[in-house]
């Protein structure tokens, strides 16, 4: 039964989207120099198109995509795709967990062993995920307020430090190859959003899905653009790509009347809660996919959630010991895999379109 409204969907999606982008994924955007803003603007339409067709499909087809997607592409193919989604979600959850622990471990919790941090975060997110989507959505509503408020208050404090002369470079340094390179990289940010296709049936007013989708993609790109631009004008592209977390240094340059200088723990704690929401949601969806694959009902959900959290914990421990392997895999094999994942919902849309053209609008009866 639909429970949540479209504003809750928008807030949840934007928070989910920006949490890791601002913290971990801004750095590679400096590789394309001053063209980052154009990459962020130009990617809007392609990403919207990638999501448009599956969302339109879910508007027409009122069933749970996860449970009954097999009616479109046949059950074995649907199970295969679900396994792909499952692997994808496991990978991104583990990567986000490792990056989160790396950041915290390096700066604030140097003495705490990696497995302890991983275990605590997995346990906390598993408890939140097992409470269901309602808890996650309400949690994101509260944190959305904190994130927008902190951005509105703290970003203007940066104006004193940034070099506005650099803005000229945004228009003079435009070259096709870096723009395409940047767009390819930015497109990966949105692979994660595919998980919302499994949740849309939980939201009311499905006729507004496309409008909400366009707001979500625009909102994520807007937040990314603002933080990227501030980082660029403060550090330039060369120092920007040298810093692992440019947004952290950005926060450290904020100064309230030469009095409050160390604001970073405050901002980082707000941002950390967005990442915890992301991890919780990933865990929730991973659990839902698992129950769909093994065809177990809701009664098993809690057990599966903890088992899945344990799997994430083990994956993070294994990769966390060899971060170099991970740094190699993310831009190569994983990036290629993520491109395939982005195409899967389009396969559903294409098959649905072809089959409905051949035999009229699909329903449970004529499938």
């Amino acid at each position: 039964m639909p429970q949540f409204n479209q504003f809750q969907l928008i807030r949840l999606c934007i928070l989910y989207g920006i949490s890791s982008i601002i913290a971990f994924l801004l750095n590679p955007l400096f590789q394309v120099g001053y063209t980052g803003w154009l990459c962020l603007l130009l990617i809007y339409i392609p990403i919207l198109l990638v999501f448009y067709f599956p969302v339109r499909l879910l508007q027409k087809w009122p069933h749970c995509f996860l449970q009954e997607g097999g009616q479109i592409v046949s059950q074995p193919v649907h199970i295969f795709f679900l396994i792909c989604f499952y692997v994808h979600i496991t990978i991104i959850t583990a990567i986000n967990l490792i990056l989160f622990i790396d950041f915290f471990g390096n700066i604030y919790l140097r003495e705490t062993p990696f497995p302890i941090l991983a275990a605590i975060i997995c346990l906390a997110t598993a408890i939140a995920a097992s409470s269901g989507l309602k808890g996650i959505v309400y949690m994101s509503d509260g944190i959305w307020f904190l994130v927008t408020l902190s951005s509105l208050i703290f970003l203007p404090l940066m104006f004193k430090n940034i070099n506005l002369s650099m803005i000229a470079a945004l228009f003079t340094n435009l070259k096709l190859y870096p723009v395409l390179q940047g767009m390819y990289f930015v497109s990966h940010w949105f692979t994660d959003l595919i998980i919302f296709l499994f949740l849309l049936h939980r939201f009311k007013e499905k006729e507004k899905f496309v409008r909400s989708l366009s707001i979500v993609i625009g909102g994520i790109l807007f937040f990314a653009l603002i933080y990227w631009l501030f980082c660029l004008l403060l550090f330039g592209p060369y120092l920007g790509r040298q810093l692992r977390i440019p947004a952290l240094e950005l926060v450290r340059h904020m100064l309230v009347g030469q009095f409050v200088e160390n604001l970073d723990p405050l901002i980082v704690s707000i941002w950390s809660s967005t990442l915890l929401i992301k991890l919780t949601l990933l865990l929730y969806i991973g659990t839902a996919i698992t129950t769909a694959i093994i065809k177990k009902g809701k009664s098993y959900r809690r057990t599966v959630t903890y088992c899945y959290a344990f799997l994430i914990f083990i994956t993070a421990i294994l990769w966390g010991h060899r971060p170099i392997d991970l740094y190699y895999l993310v831009p190569t094999s994983f990036a290629f895999f993520f491109v395939i994942i982005k195409a899967i919902p389009l396969v559903y849309s294409a098959v649905y379109y072809i089959r409905s053209k051949m035999s009229g609008p699909l329903s449970k009866e004529n499938m």
């Binding site: 001053y34 390096n106 700066i107 604030y108 919790l109 140097r110 003495e111 705490t112 302890i116 605590i120 346990l123 906390a124 408890i127 430090n161 002369s165 650099m166 000229a168 470079a169 003079t172 340094n173 403060l234 550090f235 330039g236 060369y238 120092l239 040298q242 810093l243 240094e249 450290r252 340059h253 030469q258 200088e261 160390n262």
Partner: protein, 388 residues
């Protein structure tokens, strides 16, 4: 099942208190300043200064005669900065914390040898802020802690406030790194020591810190200097100068006029002229009379225009002489190459491999001071006009 989960949640709360990595505040040394030198045996000598909270309270309660300074200075040598730091850490009873470090002073010899290892070490430290100011000592940086902190509690605080006020050229680690990584150079304020008999210290001879212009760095090595007035102009161009003052001479008898500038700003725009690059530097500011020795009528529009012209010529000369000095040293200390990259990226790509040579030979400057005298103080006419 429910009690089990409740116990689990309560247990996790115990783990989430952060006690695992906790270091109590009284187990930390909050380093306020770092001083780096190259010892005669070519080892790195690292000196750290930190406040002693246990003495800070007693200082305010006791009389000013207290002989115990509220700060500690620890120094160690090592083959690298990290090793020298480790040696300091081994000998102190508390854990070193960089979160409050706001000043780095580099010894002259270390600066001439190259500061790249220091920058590399600093950018890797997770808790060291890139906004930390950098200054250059005239000799050894470790002599700075001998300075008498008259208005502040410790020498690093003196230096931090010195840089924070923006009366001098304030250069941060971020700016040095930005220049270096972009293939350009930097200018950093150099200090001077002076021995003075100070009344506040019961007439004892103490070391006083002053400004000795700026040290010019090329490829992170100190290669030369500019004067305090030239360094002040560089700070103006970098938009980091607050209320500079100036003395100009005006009229037939070259009488003195003291001015202060507010709302100082600068803008830079490069222009291409065949194979040359011309940087147009526009200096903006609002002038106020502080004192005038002239007998002229300062409410006369013509007189004010002539004074403004004198001021503009003087500013132009100062800045140009500083820039010419950087050209002689082949050091793009104001990071003008970045402006070329921002406006003409193709030309920048062409000249980037030999930018410093190009900067020396093919770069020229047009300096356009845009100064208006707007504030006349509370006096209508100079009292010197009465003796006319």
């Amino acid at each position: 099942m429910k009690p089990f989960f409740l116990i689990l949640i309560c247990f996790s709360l115990l783990l989430l208190t952060g006690c695992w990595s906790s270091i109590e505040i009284n187990q930390r040394i909050f380093v306020s300043g770092i001083f780096v030198d190259l010892a005669p045996d070519n080892k790195v000598e690292l000196t750290i200064a930190s406040l002693l909270p246990n003495r800070m309270g007693s200082q305010s309660l006791q009389s000013a005669q207290s002989s115990e300074p509220p700060y500690a200075i620890i120094s160690k040598k090592g083959p690298s900065l990290a090793i020298a730091l480790k040696r300091i850490q081994k000998e102190v009873t508390r854990t070193i914390s960089w979160g409050h470090t706001r000043i780095v002073v580099i010894g002259n010899r270390y600066a001439r040898n190259g500061i790249t290892p220091l920058l590399e070490w600093m950018i890797r430290q997770p808790s060291l802020h890139l906004k930390t100011f950098v200054l250059i000592a005239p000799g050894n940086a470790k002599e700075i802690p001998a300075v008498t902190p008259v208005y502040e509690q410790s020498p690093p605080e003196v230096l931090r406030e010195y840089a924070n006020q923006h009366f001098i050229l304030s250069t941060s680690i971020r700016e040095i790194l930005m220049g270096y990584l972009a293939g350009q150079d930097t200018a950093i304020t150099s200090l001077t020591f002076e021995k003075k008999n100070m009344i506040s210290e019961k007439g004892k001879e103490n070391i006083w810190i002053g400004n000795d212009g700026a040290a010019i760095f090329q490829r992170n090595r100190l290669v030369g200097n500019i004067s305090p007035l030239q360094a002040e102009m560089f700070a103006w161009v970098k938009n980091s100068l607050v209320n500079p003052t100036m003395l100009v001479r005006y009229g037939k008898h070259r009488q003195k006029i003291d001015l202060e500038f507010q709302q100082t700003k600068a803008s830079i725009r490069p222009f291409l002229h065949k194979d040359r690059v011309v940087f147009h530097i526009r200096l903006k500011g609002v002038g106020s009379f502080l004192a005038t020795g002239t007998q002229e009528n300062l409410l006369n529009r013509k007189v004010i225009r002539q004074i403004q012209k004198e001021v503009q010529n003087s500013l132009r000369k100062r800045l140009l002489s500083g820039l010419k000095q950087t050209q002689r040293l082949e050091a793009d200390a104001l990071q003008l190459g970045s402006y070329l990259e921002w406006w003409y990226p193709d030309r920048w790509q062409q000249v980037k491999p030999y930018w410093r040579k190009y900067y020396r030979e093919k770069v020229s400057f047009v300096i356009e001071p845009d100064i208006f005298i707007r504030h006349f103080g509370t006096e209508v006419q100079s009292i010197f006009t009465k003796s006319k």
